[in-house]
Amino acid sequence: MSAVKTTGRNMIEAINDAHRVMMARDEDIVVYGEDIGFFGGVFRATAGLQKEFGKTRVFDAPISEGGIVGTAVGMAAYGLKPVIEIQFADYIYPGYDQIVSEVARIRYRTAGEWTMPMVIRSPYGGGIFGGQTHSQSPEALFTHVSGLKVVIPSNPYDAKGLLISAIEDPDPVVFFEPKRIYNGPFDGHHDRPVTPWSKHELSDVPDGHYNVPLGKAKVVREGEALTILTYGTMVHVALAAVKDNDIDAEVIDLRTLVPLDIETIEESVKKTGRCLVVQEATKTSGFGAELATLVQERCFYHLEAPVERVTGWDTPYPHAYEWVYFPGPIRMKNALKRVLEA
């Protein structure tokens, strides 16, 4: 077998390439959303696609998230595969009814006669001084909805491979992209210079088609002292904290929240006996609660300490207090300490 050709890509470029690869392979894929056509999207995720695949497969949509999702349901019912962009996750709510009541339910309520293969992509998370309405992490509002898959990549390689898998998946996938790390990984040290993806091995993204499977977590660091369960931007924050504090943690990048890779989680926690779950989202009823609950349900007798949570606070994401809100290095360190010293 010949070596796979790779190209250095940041996350946006990787996501863009996933679109390109899949649109060339599957004529039934259509891409639309606000500003995604000629302009290529406010984050440039769809740059060049309209030129390459034409206006009827890649086009701007009215500012109506409900209409975007609603028409996508019809398109999927027809037999197309819509890959739609919601400009910011904070603006997904006008489409929430169509997602929860329709996209998620149609396979079930039609006993499989109609299916809803579609990908709803949306940049999420804070760390870019976006204030209350460009910073939210609403994944838990989707993990509670049966019928949806929820995927969150943490690096360019996974972003492309997961997006390809999401597009190929027969079920609807909500695909949240951590916008803070579009252009480079972020370790939570807002006061230190950032490094671009080009310095990171996972920006070496294969050209062409490949899959990172849905439902499979990745152990991004092996360790014995505790297990850290996280996803998105927080993977990098967790890795940095582990390094900064010289802790032999096992760090698991979940990649898919639903369906969850429970095996990898259980195996790890049973080994380490301690667990920390890390989310950027507001604390109460976040996905971390589901993770913590599952871990204690399934690994209780292996646990030497309570499962701890590192999360954003239960407030909106306040513009100027971004770095007080963001679950950064100190919050990580303190939680690690709690878990390890308990």
């Binding site: 497969r57 609603g70 398109m75 019912a77 197309l80 009541s101 396979r107 006993a111 006669e113």
Partner: protein
């Protein structure tokens, strides 16, 4: 609160709350409703600019006159066989409704919804469209299925959630779904289907297909944001879609004024978007047919979408859970100026010399017997009270294409519970 200010030359404001003309105890009198003469409405060319239709948004396309004659430019000049099939389908719907309503009252299922008085709309629309065309219906378009030949027995099985229910007992009665008959899964959530219809039509256009689509919504549900989403997307992309508002004057207990009908007809919404619009006598099967035909030809030739308001009256309660005597005057249906759609189509056939009372009574008998016989067959497959513990694993299927671990665990737990509850292995 801060004190309301009253200022010089600044009169006190007042909230207007719409109120229907009649409430329980009143004697309904609909003489204030303007009913244009049959044949009066002009018929623009199918390729006309949208604005040529705007006067029709406040008019009423009518074909059948009081004597059952088809008149005017909208007369579709249908052959008697088609007319007779429509009559038969409409009667079938009404007979079916009556039987199923009773079945619910007898405790054989949880819920039922009739479309009494509105039978012409779905039946004539189905007749006017191609069989390959798609519908995104609400719960009062059972006539689409009947007209397209979907088995009544299967409908009943769905209503009973029994072994013959293609939806495996998952959906509320009457929430049919059938791909082969171009009938999209009915949603419990009002309005969602209309942007979906637009999306389906957009998809058909994207693929250079020739099939068009019709999305249905009630007068009350037009207030949902999804109606606007549908109108916007249909307009922007000139989707080959027909959006049908069935204005039956009521949304459960709220009259159409609560959805905005005091100030404008529902057809007028079209004007705001620059979309073609028609307002049609929904109790006149020929007018319905002609309007849908016109709009479908328009859509089919890439001339853009049409909004059609079907003006009709919900002659019965909202559903088996509803008692309309609590909020509207008795006798409204009888006073309704557009009459009964079945009686009017029958009169037309009689006027044509194609039909008479004897044959009509015969047909009623035949349909009644047929529906009863079908009901027996359906009930042989079970009614709701007997359901719920057979084939439990099916309940965990189709959440996803394949069953993830957590649903597999839950399925096993559910099976164990059922075993314990039943005292034996569930079927």
């Amino acid at each position: 609160m801060d004190k309301a200010t009253s200022r010089p030359n600044r009169p006190a404001l007042a909230l207007h709350v719409p109120e229907p003309p009649f409430r329980p105890g009143d004697t309904p009198n609909f003489s204030s409703i303007k009913v244009p003469k049959a044949g009066d409405a002009p018929r623009p060319d199918v390729a006309a600019k949208a604005e040529e239709t705007f006067p029709l948004c406040t008019h009423l396309v009518r074909v059948l006159d009081e004597k059952g004659k088809a008149v005017g430019p909208w007369d579709p000049k249908l052959d008697p066989a088609t007319l007779l099939k429509m009559l038969r389908d409409m009667k079938t719907v009404r007979t079916f409704d009556d039987r199923m309503y009773r079945a619910q009252r007898q405790g054989k299922t949880s819920f039922y919804m009739k479309c009494t008085g509105e039978e012409a709309i779905a039946v004539a629309a189905a007749t006017a469209m191609d069989p390959e065309d798609m519908h995104f219906p609400t719960y009062r378009q059972q006539g689409l299925l009947v007209s397209r030949g979907y088995p009544l027995k299967t409908m009943m099985c769905q209503i009973y959630s029994n072994a013959g229910d293609p939806l495996h007992g998952r959906q509320l009665p009457i929430m049919y779904s059938d791909k082969k008959h171009g009938f999209f899964s009915i949603s419990g959530n009002l309005g969602t289907q209309v942007p979906q219809a637009v999306g389906w039509a957009m998809a058909s256009a994207i693929k250079g297909d020739s099939r068009i689509c019709m999305g249905w919504i009630g007068d009350g549900a037009t207030a949902e944001g999804d109606f606007h989403n549908a109108m916007t997307f249909a307009t922007v992309y000139q989707a080959p879609v027909i959006i049908a508002v069935v204005n039956n004057q009521w949304a459960i207990s709220s009259f159409s004024g609560i959805a905005g009908a005091e100030q404008a007809t529902f057809a007028s919404r079209a004007i705001g978007y620059g979309m073609a619009g028609l307002r049609v006598d929904g109790n006149d099967a020929l007018a319905v047919y002609a309007a849908v035909k016109w709009a479908s030809e328009r859509a089919r030739t890439n001339k853009g979408p049409t909004l059609i308001e079907f003006f009709t009256y919900r002659a019965e309660g909202h559903s088996t859970s509803d008692d309309p005597t609590g909020y509207r005057a008795k006798g409204e249906a009888e006073e309704w100026p557009l009459g009964d759609p079945i009686a009017r189509l029958k009169a037309h056939l009689v006027a044509l010399g194609e039909w008479d009372d004897a044959r009509d009574a015969e047909l009623d008998k035949e349909l009644d017997a047929m529906v009863r016989a079908t009901q027996k067959e359906a009930e042989a497959m079970g009614t709701l009270p007997q359901q719920g513990f057979d084939n439990i694993p099916s309940m965990f299927e189709d959440v996803y294409a394949s069953t993830p671990w957590h649903l597999a665990e839950q399925r096993d737990e559910a099976l164990a519970e059922a075993r314990e509850f039943l005292g034996h292995e569930p079927k």
